[in-house]
Assembly symmetry: D2
Homo-oligomer: 410 residues x 4
Amino acid sequence: MKPKKLTIFNDPIYGFIRIPSDLIFDLIAHPYFQRLRRISQMGLSYMVYPGAHHTRFHHALGSMYLMQKSIRVLRFKGVAISEAEEKGLLGAILLHDIGHGPFSHAMEHSIVNGVSHEQISLQFMQELNKVFNGELDEAISIFTRKHPKRFLNQLVSSQLDMDRLDYLKRDSFYTGVSEGNTNADRLITMLNVVDSGNLVVEEKGIYSVEKFLMARRFMYWQVYLHKTGVVAEQILISILKRARFLIKNGRQLHGSNSLLFFLQNDINRDRFDAQVLERFSKLDDIDILSAVKNWQEEDDKVLSTLCKMLINRKLLHIKVKKEPIKKGKLTRRKEKVAKMFGLSTEDEISYFIFTGEIENRAYNQESQNIHILRKNGKIVDVAKLSDHLNITALSKTVTKYYICYPKDAV
Amino acid sequence: MKPKKLTIFNDPIYGFIRIPSDLIFDLIAHPYFQRLRRISQMGLSYMVYPGAHHTRFHHALGSMYLMQKSIRVLRFKGVAISEAEEKGLLGAILLHDIGHGPFSHAMEHSIVNGVSHEQISLQFMQELNKVFNGELDEAISIFTRKHPKRFLNQLVSSQLDMDRLDYLKRDSFYTGVSEGNTNADRLITMLNVVDSGNLVVEEKGIYSVEKFLMARRFMYWQVYLHKTGVVAEQILISILKRARFLIKNGRQLHGSNSLLFFLQNDINRDRFDAQVLERFSKLDDIDILSAVKNWQEEDDKVLSTLCKMLINRKLLHIKVKKEPIKKGKLTRRKEKVAKMFGLSTEDEISYFIFTGEIENRAYNQESQNIHILRKNGKIVDVAKLSDHLNITALSKTVTKYYICYPKDAV
Amino acid sequence: MKPKKLTIFNDPIYGFIRIPSDLIFDLIAHPYFQRLRRISQMGLSYMVYPGAHHTRFHHALGSMYLMQKSIRVLRFKGVAISEAEEKGLLGAILLHDIGHGPFSHAMEHSIVNGVSHEQISLQFMQELNKVFNGELDEAISIFTRKHPKRFLNQLVSSQLDMDRLDYLKRDSFYTGVSEGNTNADRLITMLNVVDSGNLVVEEKGIYSVEKFLMARRFMYWQVYLHKTGVVAEQILISILKRARFLIKNGRQLHGSNSLLFFLQNDINRDRFDAQVLERFSKLDDIDILSAVKNWQEEDDKVLSTLCKMLINRKLLHIKVKKEPIKKGKLTRRKEKVAKMFGLSTEDEISYFIFTGEIENRAYNQESQNIHILRKNGKIVDVAKLSDHLNITALSKTVTKYYICYPKDAV
Amino acid sequence: MKPKKLTIFNDPIYGFIRIPSDLIFDLIAHPYFQRLRRISQMGLSYMVYPGAHHTRFHHALGSMYLMQKSIRVLRFKGVAISEAEEKGLLGAILLHDIGHGPFSHAMEHSIVNGVSHEQISLQFMQELNKVFNGELDEAISIFTRKHPKRFLNQLVSSQLDMDRLDYLKRDSFYTGVSEGNTNADRLITMLNVVDSGNLVVEEKGIYSVEKFLMARRFMYWQVYLHKTGVVAEQILISILKRARFLIKNGRQLHGSNSLLFFLQNDINRDRFDAQVLERFSKLDDIDILSAVKNWQEEDDKVLSTLCKMLINRKLLHIKVKKEPIKKGKLTRRKEKVAKMFGLSTEDEISYFIFTGEIENRAYNQESQNIHILRKNGKIVDVAKLSDHLNITALSKTVTKYYICYPKDAV
């Protein structure tokens, strides 16, 4: 198991991340994985939080680091984890997000309709498994939640997995929103595995779990769903939608081959084959951002206006409400907007005035629950154990409503 | 002075950065400044330190924050700083790096030959001064070191200015190289101004100054001049040089209009007028990186090979020595390289095997010195005061020599 | 206002704490305040958290630092705070805890029966006000909540005051229980004052307030009410109770004059005059701990056994339950204990086997509420505004029950 | 090896410190080790740095944590360390400072003349080895530097041992003097063992070693030898000296039995037997501080005055110079002092006016050197390798001179 190459990554959060094996070393060196260096973890959030430029590359390394820690803790408590299973866990967590495209959320609404990043991750893993002669079999089994030892699957994907532990900590760190920080070390220290093969948290960790769920909720409202981030993302979705519309109507647009491929074709789940995957593997933030920069000069008023908004951060105004937006309000504003930008159709205007919803649920009681191992040996859902109603309260979905329009259109 | 807009930036380092005035708010909102969001502070260093994706935008805000702190400390000590001077200081430090292009160091060797970023910063400031009706007069006077109160100039530009205090701290933070961290707060607390109008550090701060110089030296060798970062940068320089060569020879290359403009034209100091500035203001990391990505598909072997190296991080091998590289050694390797990549001319081969130098000096005794105010009221250069030879030792320039070649050409 | 002395304290949390005036400097230098250097902030918690040795001295400085920050923020928002009011605020917060005795919670149950530390703080402040010729008038008016500008009182004492902001952060920092950390900077940034003169938090700070209340609740269960800390404190209470009993029965015990004074006399609210205050001002952790150390050698079995337990950290066993402890269970154990330690009376045995309660409420809806200023200008209680039931849930008092007994008595 | 008890300590610096075995658990629980909870790591430095209340208990745990890390790194690199050797390393580092008395430096000048804390540590270890049936044989062999595998000894005691790595980091952390922080993680990562069995640092760690030496030097001048700390310590030495003098002259002084034993007897190296050790094991900060508190009320003018100075932090004035203090200066002042305090003899006066020296050397080239493993396999002293003169400069001893006298005696 001793790797030939002793490689170390500096990480401002964990200090040093050591590469545990040659396989991991080679996976990281592969162009598929190197591409993650050019995919921002938090999309356009840097427009609100100027430090939020960290990448999915870094997050993948961080998640792997926490997985190494979990393995050490569980083994220390006597949980059997074989070398093969360890390899599987590390491979699965390292590659769990490799299917993310640039500005993933915006993409899903505009370019790779209905193809989830998990599916694409799986395709990448299968492709890499060919390159590495089946060395990822176990990792794939874990990633697809098919491993008979359930806790392995749960370490990679559940409501308390290494993915979440790292991204909350990392996003909190780079944005400077310290409220989102969680004590991953303590949570990992409290992990255990019970006879059923399920991952549990020991009872004394109950407040840390609550704290973790609260931190996650905090990050959603304060960061991931920050209104300025939401409006920036909506503008990017509109840009891609408009570009696709123009191309369909015969307009030539500048752009990288990879981006144009996805704009010209309707790629859905069924069409996402190895060739599409290869195209997809060339796509990153650079393709999107350089297109947006170039399209500022396009003739199409809608497209160029939206692109300038994004590049110069002169975004639409956004209001967030607890009640759905009343439709009546918009009519007069729309006229103004039509004049402001010289737009003619209702469809064009709808790029500049629109409504939407954001929602969040801190804890899902229905699947991949967090289980607590009580001192008496019984296992209960965290929502049942917490004193009073805290986590039950966190289990309801909260929905908010927003409206966007140009600042001067009031 | 009370601003209409109470804006705050989250900063993982300082907590919150408050925007002190409407002028600063409007400067930040200007497209010239927003462009800095797309210019990485550390260029290609993220290939070594995966966290190093912070931007010049963030550094400019951080420097301004430290300037606010310095102003508070100096006023507390009875140093007179008028509101106009405060405005000048904040404007000057906010805009001090606005002239940086993408991958600045590489650019200076390939695109804007012999035009320093300071000069371009000044031109941006003059342009903005027109927009803001002369509100930047004082800032320009300070930035150009012409202000009669010398300490104002020194706070913006000297061997212990707010620029350096922020970038060392920030680069250390984002890379995770904690040795580079400096106690900016203590250094600022020790600042004072003497009768001559010069900025000094009070004697009890002497060890902090030494510590700061050591940290800077550390960052140079460990980070800024890290051998992998050096080779990545050299490859980028080579790419731009090759692209320019091909264009000169009539080849059509893909690229943004702004980038192509600088590749097609020989811009030097004299030709850098308002129109060139406008072109320059459109240029950022995206233009460079999207070109490199596209050029991977170019026919020219040299260009496409170099671009693939950079994108897939399959860099050339680099060796760093204390002695100059002996020329004899290279001949046999060159033949191998010619075969490997199918190259025909000596010139082409020199893109893949080359030598160079890196150098660093922790403290420059000859200009913009750091002065210590002794308890007896005398002022001495920090190099004179430190016990024994520490800083004198740091004042020598250290040079190292490197050679780069393909891994398999040995 | 410019102080003659520029004094600075290093603080690992805030960096530097600057002493803002000569009055504050002189208050800190006074023996009454210096005494706080010998009073631990967290009593016996260091038996669980080995880093928890910080003092009330440090906490008082930290609270003052946050008050300076709040004043700056509020003034920046246009809230009028005169220099006299600033002086009052700083004096009140600096001295708010000066009445704490050593191991305050244990003392209140054994030595200064029914005299709250707030009352003693007030007496110290009145005494100091004589020394400083009335300079603390405004501080006393604020500390006693009589100042007509209500927000001044609330900054010093409410459910979101500078005291709590500092102690949560500080206790979290020194224990290493990072979940208790709060973003004091953000909370302070969100403070404002409305027409009624009340302190409010702006609506966008709602999640930070929730986070703060959660952190406080976390610290209570994980730290302040940690079972090992609870049992250590109970043993200390027992020690002082036993010592007092022995003295009443004519036994001579070693101890400092100050401690013996409080053990020999029944000091209550009415008897706490200037002379008692002077005695109290000599009392600190050293008096208690040296007595406990000495009493290990006392003849009285109960006293010496308890003292050895505390010094060697061989504490009683403690079990915490959600239900009250059933009395039946104890009888057999008591016999064993009587034998183990050679005890004869029920009363003596009760020093070694006993039950108790701990309780906590994260938010009190009934007094000193936290008010939120909505965007529409209305003011509501934080418990009303938070989505769903979070804070309402936090408003219920949670009670737990414990039993203590010697490990070997099972 | 799997311990029965999974115990964990919270550490604000490293997160969690896990107790690796039952032996370590039991050693920590022993009263000899628990005593370290009552011995401050930094003596009276809290008079300058209010956060500096951490204990030798905490430092011992921290050093053990770093040792665990080093063992992991070295094994990862293929260095053989058996389980017995691991046990020895952990025991030796855990107990390396167990022989420290309260205010160690002051004690060595007044109470345990000429008995080093290393010797006392060894005696404690031998005593514990009896209790634990020889389980500490290997630890003792390492602690006394007799182990044939030299790197084991060097990990516990050399110029780059786990002791130094932890105390610099910890003292820097608790004082808030961030300049003293060192990247222990990186240094440990760079450790290796060469054929000769010596511990070395790999060449790429050279700048980190320099940084470490600089940080240490910084801590000495800024913290350990801070002038206010020096004068406080001198006053404590004087107090103990005076107390001993008075006792010798028949005066009865209050104090704990343990303290009085050491004041009444002249304990030197030869007389430090098992019985003395037992006495010593009862002695901690509490004994000293409670004596100082009590002695404020003593009749002897010298003693009571000095004690009040220390308790109320009304210290003597101190001036630090680069040149020896000229004796002439003192005469007039002495007369004043004699009057101020009503002193009659030269000897009494010398408690209030005196001179002294402090010195520091950042790196000792003569013993226990730090060796660098060059890339070419050669081993050189760090002082030889560093560019130019940095470390050579640090190898000189710097001496400073001070004079102390009452503030009002000028």
